[in-house]
Amino acid sequence: MADAIETTLPTQQLEAMKGVKKVPLEEFFTSGHRTCQGCESALVMKLMVKAAGPRTIVLGSTGCMYVANTTYYSTSWVVPWMHTQLGSSGSAGMGTAAALKVLMRKGKMKEEPINVIAFCGDGGGADMGLSAISAALTHPQYNFLILLYDNESYANTDIQLSGLTPYGAHTTFSPPGKAKRIMHRRWKKNVAGMLAAGHPECRYVATVDASYAVEMMNRVRKALTIGGPTFIHSLDPCPKGWDYDPMLSHELGELAVDAGVWPLYEVENGLLKLYGRTKQIAEKRARRKPVRDFLLKQGRFAHFTDDDIDYFQAKIDEMWTKWLIPGVIPFHTELDRDQPPA
């Protein structure tokens, strides 16, 4: 019995999609949601569950992707869906996975691989729910994926700061003023890097960007196939919180990667691989675009001076040239003094 408790159940063997033409047409996140025009996170939900397929249970913690998708007696979810408390995607996802396993072990349910995905926003995942995610990633005997959709603010409650809001951004908790221009001076938490570095039982951690949709779906498939508790961090442009024309969502998602602000990588059984455009940049096959191109398309950085942009650029440059593992792990072998503009 001890073995049955400790072992991991088989997972669904989901093969990588070879190009956009091989993507299945069937949708499991359909019309009927009330997200904003240009909402990238809604696209993340759609691609995530398209990649996972019909035998999937999705849990979502409080945030836009809960409130906009499952209220007023309607839902856009085709697969079973369950709301979880704001900080509990890690624990509720693990609870679901544990229940499926015990019900199958006791013969109360047919034994078959069922995907469990628990998603959370940046507030729920990187602020309130970080300890629950960390705890969940230490339990290798359960199969579930935690997907963090990161629109870089508490967008559901009207754009307050989160631990993943970038330096200097204008939010309702960091309104720039005449006396003080930069009201948010903290650098964005490195969630994927921290979780990958600190959780030896976790077999898969990845960063994704839905502007690179097939790459993104294949990371979801890989996470679910590898099994155990896995983690994916998705950066999602948000027209309301980032303050830009909704038609630019896809472009901003690409720019975040192209400017080196959002490196794409996966850590599979301890092996780090950069992928996509990030890999091209690292291998000098593509040039990193200036962060100015990315920042100035967004109203939340409209108060930035040239000094602010230069500082932002310097921090991104540092990430690529001085980090022990560029774009991933921010340890330095020697330290420069941090000098943000006054």
């Binding site: 309130m128 009207d158 309702t172």
Partner: protein, 358 residues
């Protein structure tokens, strides 16, 4: 207190609470976004630093209340605000604060529950607020404003009461009061000078060791601690506040607090217009509860109608106060539905006809 018209500003309830707290000399505010109270945090983010105060965004309500615990222990005048689900998360920290006897102000802008519920106004956290501060036998002081002016005034009072009793004081309000706009005049406070208290953890070297904790492993020691707290709660009873509206000659009373008291007041006026001698008994503090005012009314009226946006919570306190001397009926709307004056009037008439039939 009469104020000149020019002293009054049109403000949203949440912002008025935040401004009142700043004028009360709040030194540190810790908050976490949740509708329908986020404007309190937003106002604090924008304005508290201008007054030299500390605004800190917590990573959860659990963190916010424990930041309050830490800052109150260090002797600062502190506050947090949230809405119902956030209050649930704060319960353990609140119990520590009560057990350690630290002053602080907590704002609960109530919304519909249970669970995530909705963001519409509610009064369903009455039990949670008044019956216990988290686990254990602790109590909050609980103030329930009915207008935005009163929300500002009671926020100021809450800081005074918190300091006076070394106890959390909660302003218990709702999503409509938080979101609507009314004219408000701010009073300067606080009445108590705010020095760093002698018991605060200000660093060693200037007196006896200061210990702030809530652990008493010997049952007898914990009992003695609890008895002392209970004695304090008995002393708090003098802080009871309520309003009687048209109660002098009333034959039927409506008991309601906060937003529902405004609705009940309109219903009472309409009842009077129809020749029914109705009155309103409005608790302003819901802990301590105006037991005596209720008991006095019970000796005078033929029945009491309690109106709440809950399944019936304050009505239990009304019944305890009345002790069976007069019939107590309940009318409530749930889940964020707000009762209307015609509904309340119909209930007044129904209660009267019931009483006459007996």
């Amino acid at each position: 207190m009469a104020t000149a018209l020019t002293d009054r500003v049109l403000m949203k309830g949440n912002e008025a609470i935040a401004e009142a707290a700043i004028r009360a000399g709040v030194q540190a505010y810790f908050g976490y976004p949740i509708t329908p109270q986020s404007e309190i945090s937003e106002y604090m983010a924008a304005h508290l630093p201008e007054h030299g105060g500390a605004f800190l965004q917590a990573e959860s309500e659990v963190a916010a209340i424990n930041m309050v615990y830490g800052a109150a222990g260090a002797g600062a005048r502190v506050m947090t605000s949230t809405s119902s689900p956030g209050i649930s998360l704060m319960q353990e920290g609140l119990s520590y604060i009560v057990g350690s006897e630290l002053p602080c102000v907590i704002i609960n802008v109530m919304r519909g529950g249970p669970g995530l519920g909705n963001i519409a106004p509610s009064q369903a956290d009455y039990f949670q607020a008044t019956k216990s501060a988290g686990h254990g036998d602790g109590r909050n002081l609980v103030l329930a404003p009915s207008t935005i002016q009163e929300a500002a005034d009671l926020t100021l009072l809450a800081f005074d009461l918190a300091d006076r009793y070394r106890n959390p004081a909660m302003v218990l309000t709702d999503g409509i009061t938080g979101q609507m706009m009314e004219p408000v005049a701010f009073r300067e406070g606080p009445s108590l000078p705010r020095e760093v208290p002698a018991w605060a953890t200000t660093g060693a070297g200037d007196g006896p060791v200061r210990l702030i904790n809530s652990i008493y492993l010997e049952p007898e020691a914990l009992e003695a601690h609890n008895q002392r707290l209970q004695e304090k709660y008995r002393r708090m009873q003098v802080e009871v506040r309520s309003e009687a509206y048209l109660m002098d000659d009333a034959v039927v009373a409506v008991a309601a607090y906060g937003l529902t008291a405004r609705i009940a007041r309109t219903a009472v006026d309409r009842a009077r217009a129809k020749g029914i001698r109705a009155g309103l008994l409005r608790p302003i503090t819901v802990y301590p509860f105006p037991t005596q005012a209720c008991a006095d009314a019970a000796g005078q009226v033929a029945g009491i109608l309690t109106v709440e946006m809950s399944a019936g919570q304050m009505v239990e306190d009304v019944r305890l106060a009345v002790e069976g001397r007069t019939p107590v009926r309940f009318y409530g709307r749930l889940g964020g539905v707000v009762p209307t004056p015609p509904e309340v009037l119909a209930q007044i008439e129904r209660l009267l006809s019931e009483v006459k039939a007996r």
